[in-house]
């Protein structure tokens, strides 16, 4: 086991990386029992890291101005020293690709390999959300396909038309997600193949004569009952991009395909947004365990271990709410703290913990329980289940209730005491629930008999209405794709209409 130091000082080369990886792998597989995708480690420069930032961390992506904008923005803040760069980026794919910055010292590379190549990797492979929604084997091929497809479309249909379609699709991206697993798992490889077949079929079936055939009088839509019409259109539908792709009357086939691409990519990132705390917590917990073990084995010197501890402490630092640096809960800090707390409860519980966590308290098998947690929870359920009173006291959490109607001010609703634990925990869990984070917007009906207006509805929760300027812009994009009027009503829980938007298409995006 103890095969001497992995490295001395801060310098590293590729053999060092290999040794570090092998040592981490040894600890990760035999002691922590992790189950990971094969690893691929790529060393990159700061500029390449900025590149990756601007295309949401993916190694390849289609071209769009908004990525250029993000790049310019990141670059400017990086140059002014407002922003440090991440030490790594890791991609949920098989093989699991981790990008390491070349500036990192040897200790940092070890930290990052343990963190990304084992922590995140295990989480990606085993968490139920990722299993359900993402296809790690196919994602890189699919992105390659998307990139080629977009550039082909630009050649065939012009850059402007493609850009307008993508702008619109991006605006609707947060509402282009299936939230409930209804149908089969996404298989991006098959998806890519089917897209190719669809195009081939269209080309082989093309006959210009069909254009000239006179069509008979269309069947009257008025005869369709409301119920039947809604069923035919699959309404109500909260996946706006899916609905447009399938039902928008005048989109070109390539435009539908573009919507589909954007929708698939949004879906791919969907699990990441609801597992930030867990994902980072897992990775931080894993790197902490691995690094500590390597130090115990004498493979990392005391000095390098102190360097590690310093970075680790920075990563899990949680400023107080009244601190200048505060910007919400730090997912690393919260996730790591809960997981360490689980370890404590499992091995060395107090009476309070036995009351709160009868299932796991004192069970002894730390890794078995953590692996189970990592597989079967997301942030919302994880916090709701495992945030212990002790931890709430440690973070000194409190719950504020801010009602604009209340003149006197903001009310402290609950604090970290016996009466407040459950309420604080429930509220924090709700803060991490995607169901509450994204606005609940659905397509409810289409006026097929009349002016073909597309009707959307926003169910207002707790009085939070949509930002007017942005909403008009998004709806404008939507109307351009739909090519007829689009209306959005904001309705509160009592069915009272609070606000109504109607937008007319500009008639550019869909101009055939």
């Amino acid at each position: 086991m103890t095969a001497g130091r992995l490295f001395e000082g801060a310098d590293w080369d590729f053999r060092t990386l290999q040794r570090i990886h092998d040592a981490c792998e040894d600890v990760a597989l035999s002691e922590l029992g992790l189950d990971v995708y094969p690893n691929q480690i790529e060393v990159i420069t700061a500029e390449q890291m900025l590149d990756a930032y601007s295309s949401v961390g993916m190694p390849l992506f289609y071209k769009h101005w908004s990525f250029g904008k993000h790049f310019a923005f990141h670059e400017a803040s990086y140059r002014r020293g407002l922003m440090g760069l991440a030490y790594e980026i890791v991609i949920n794919s098989s093989p699991c690709i981790s990008y390491l910055m070349e500036e990192n010292s040897a200790t940092m590379q070890a930290l990052v390999i343990a963190h990304a190549a084992f922590g995140h990797n295990h989480f990606f492979k085993n968490n139920y959300l990722f299993k359900q929604w993402t296809d790690a084997d196919g994602i890189l091929d699919y992105l390659e396909f998307a990139k080629t497809y977009v550039s082909q479309c630009e050649e065939r249909h012009g850059r402007l038309a493609v850009e307008q379609t993508l702008d619109a699709a991006h605006a609707l991206m947060s509402h282009g997600i299936d939230r409930y697993p209804g149908k089969k798992k996404l298989d991006l490889r098959a998806e890519e193949k089917r897209a190719g077949q669809r195009r081939l079929y269209e080309e082989s079936e093309f006959n210009d004569l069909w254009r000239t055939v006179p069509t008979g009088p269309a069947k009257s839509d008025a005869t369709l009952s409301v119920e039947r019409r809604r069923r035919l259109l699959g309404l109500p539908q909260e996946n706006l991009l899916y609905f447009l792709e399938k039902s928008a009357p005048r989109l070109q086939p390539w435009q539908r395909e573009l919507l589909r691409v954007v929708r698939h990519i949004a879906q791919y990132f969907y699990p990441q947004s609801q597992t930030k705390v867990m994902n980072e917590g897992t990775a931080t917990y894993v790197h902490y365990r691995i690094m500590t073990r390597l130090h115990e084995q004498g493979r990392i010197s005391d000095g390098n271990f102190l360097e590690f501890l310093q970075s680790h402490t920075n990563v899990v630092f949680q400023p107080d709410f009244d601190d200048q640096r505060f910007s919400g809960f730090n997912p690393y800090a919260l996730g790591f703290a809960i997981m360490q707390d689980i370890e404590r409860i499992v091995t060395n519980p107090k009476d309070e913990d036995r009351d709160w966590f009868p299932d796991i308290a004192g069970k002894g098998d730390v890794m078995g329980i953590l692996r189970d947690v990592w597989s079967n929870y997301r942030d919302e359920s994880f916090i709701n289940q495992f945030l212990s009173p002790r931890l709430m006291r440690q973070f000194r959490m409190f719950h504020l209730h801010d009602d604009p109607e209340e003149r006197a001010g903001i009310k402290v609703d609950a604090i970290h005491d016996e009466r407040g634990y459950r309420r604080v925990r429930r509220e924090l869990s709700k803060q991490h629930d995607v169901g509450f984070i994204d606005a609940n917007i659905e397509v409810v009906d289409v006026d097929l008999a009349g002016d073909r207006r597309l009707m959307l509805r926003h169910t207002v929760v707790k009085g939070a209405q949509l930002n007017e300027v942005d909403t008009k812009r998004v709806l404008q994009h939507l109307a351009d794709l739909w090519t007829y009027d689009v209306s959005l009503t904001e309705v509160d829980a009592t069915e009272k209409v609070m606000k109504e938007y109607v937008l007319h298409p500009r008639g550019v995006a869909a101009a055939a």
Binding site: D51, F71, F73, A171, S174, L400, P404, G463, L466, V474
Partner: protein, 427 residues
């Protein structure tokens, strides 16, 4: 388990360059405005240095459905003194601390980013156009030049590349093991001294074999021969000369010279963007003109009366002597406070219309005034009146008055703006 370590550092960089260009194209109007604004504040020396610009987010905005307002619940860490049921005043410092919930941000109203030098200059000069460029392009006879372009297997004997041919021949001889003459000579020497018949027969056979091989493998084979290859390439007239004419008589103040200098520099930058080679000729004049170097031009002391015709005559002489109009694009910019001897007007006008304007691409006259003076309220000077009259008669002159540093850019812009095809250069 298999692991791959890949070094991506040497991959071609600037992967996002194309996205960046798309972004700049989309934000062009905004960025251009920002570039102009930021260039007005800068020193002319740094004006083309690139750097940070800031544009309003509008138009580059990526809208999303966002919610705001309503009742909010939040859990925060770091409670110090609150207990359940406390009411915290909304505006109080020690109260709720940061009250904006995360997610409602995006309040940045301006977007700052860094432009490279080239991007900056391109945007700055983008809507400027060289005067009468189209006309001149047609008139330009593109000469043909020869350029070396590697080696060929055929060609004229004059072009045989001896070193290349010999080295190929040697490589071939070595590869085919052609016997060296020294080897044969050694064997023949041995043969001459050998007495043993049997051994002699062996040696003779060996020598014969080597000789035969040397005959089969020639010293230089036709396949070794290489010729130097040339390609003809069109060589456009890509050179321009810029004449800076300035009145340095006593009436020109430092401020006026500074204005003129700024204008010349912009013109120079502009020309270097378009032509591969740009020469500058400085001619300063009082009542007589001389060609000087840049430092003397701007800073050298001089005094005397004012005769504009002397400078024009000097320019004309220099053009004749050194810059054939067929080979050079000629630009001239004259700066003066407008003073001129009344008697000189006739001569100056004649030189200008008969000799200089026909060969020039562009002739700009910049009348500089004292700081604070309003350019439009300056009374018409004698030179201005003269040029005005020439222009009325159809001479292609561009003229402007400036009295303040900040007016230089707009003026420059005016003079060089892209024009419709029919429109003349002069406004």
């Amino acid at each position: 388990m298999a692991i791959h370590i890949v070094d991506r550092r040497l991959n071609p960089g600037s992967k996002s360059l194309e996205n960046r260009q798309r972004f700049l194209r989309r934000a062009k109007a905004l960025v251009q405005g920002a570039v102009k604004k930021s260039s007005e504040e800068r020193d002319i020396r740094d004006v083309l240095e690139g750097g940070e610009v800031s544009i309003p987010l509008d138009g580059m905005h990526e809208p999303r459905f966002r919610r705001e307002g309503g009742t909010r619940d939040m859990v925060l860490p770091g409670n110090k003194k609150f207990i359940e049921g406390d009411i915290l005043p909304r505006s109080g410092e020690g109260g709720g601390g940061r009250q904006s919930a995360p997610g409602t941000g995006d309040s940045e109203d301006a977007f700052r980013f860094v432009l490279s030098r080239d991007e900056f200059v391109d945007l700055f000069l983008d809507d400027l156009e060289l005067p009468d460029l189209a006309k001149r392009k047609l008139a330009q006879a593109e000469g043909e030049g020869l350029e070396r372009a590697g080696y060929a297997t055929s060609g004229s004997p004059a072009n045989i590349s001896i070193s290349r041919t010999v080295s190929r021949a040697m490589a071939r001889r070595v590869a085919l093991r052609r016997p060296r003459p020294e080897t044969i000579a050694e064997l023949e020497a041995e043969l001459a001294e050998e007495a043993d018949e049997e051994r002699r027969a062996v040696l003779i056979a060996e020598i014969e074999a080597l000789k035969a091989k040397a005959r089969r493998i020639p010293f230089i084979d036709p396949i070794d021969i290489r010729y130097r290859r040339f390609e003809t390439v069109p060589k456009p007239v890509a050179q321009a000369v810029m004449f800076c004419l300035m009145d340095v008589s006593g009436s020109m103040s430092e401020h006026m010279k500074d204005l003129a200098k700024r204008f010349y520099m912009l013109l120079y930058v502009f020309l270097t963007r378009r032509y591969r080679h740009v020469e500058i000729v400085f001619i300063r004049h009082t009542d007589r003109a001389e060609e000087v170097d840049e430092d003397t031009f701007f800073h050298g002391p001089a005094s005397g009366g004012t005769l504009v015709s002397s400078a024009l005559q000097a320019m004309n002489d220099i053009v004749r002597a050194r810059f054939r109009p067929a080979d050079w694009n000629i630009y001239a910019a004259q700066a003066s406070d407008g003073d001129n001897s009344i008697s000189d007007g006739e001569v100056a006008g004649r030189i200008l219309t008969d000799m200089i304007l026909p060969v020039s691409q562009f002739f700009a006259y910049l009348e500089v005034g004292e700081a604070g003076g309003h350019s439009f309220e300056m009374p018409d000077s004698s030179l201005w009146t003269l040029y005005e009259r020439l222009r009325a008669n159809g001479a292609p002159l561009s003229m402007r008055k400036v009295s303040d540093r900040s007016q230089i850019f707009p003026v420059f812009h005016d003079l060089f703006q892209r024009r419709g095809k029919q429109e003349k250069v002069a406004p």
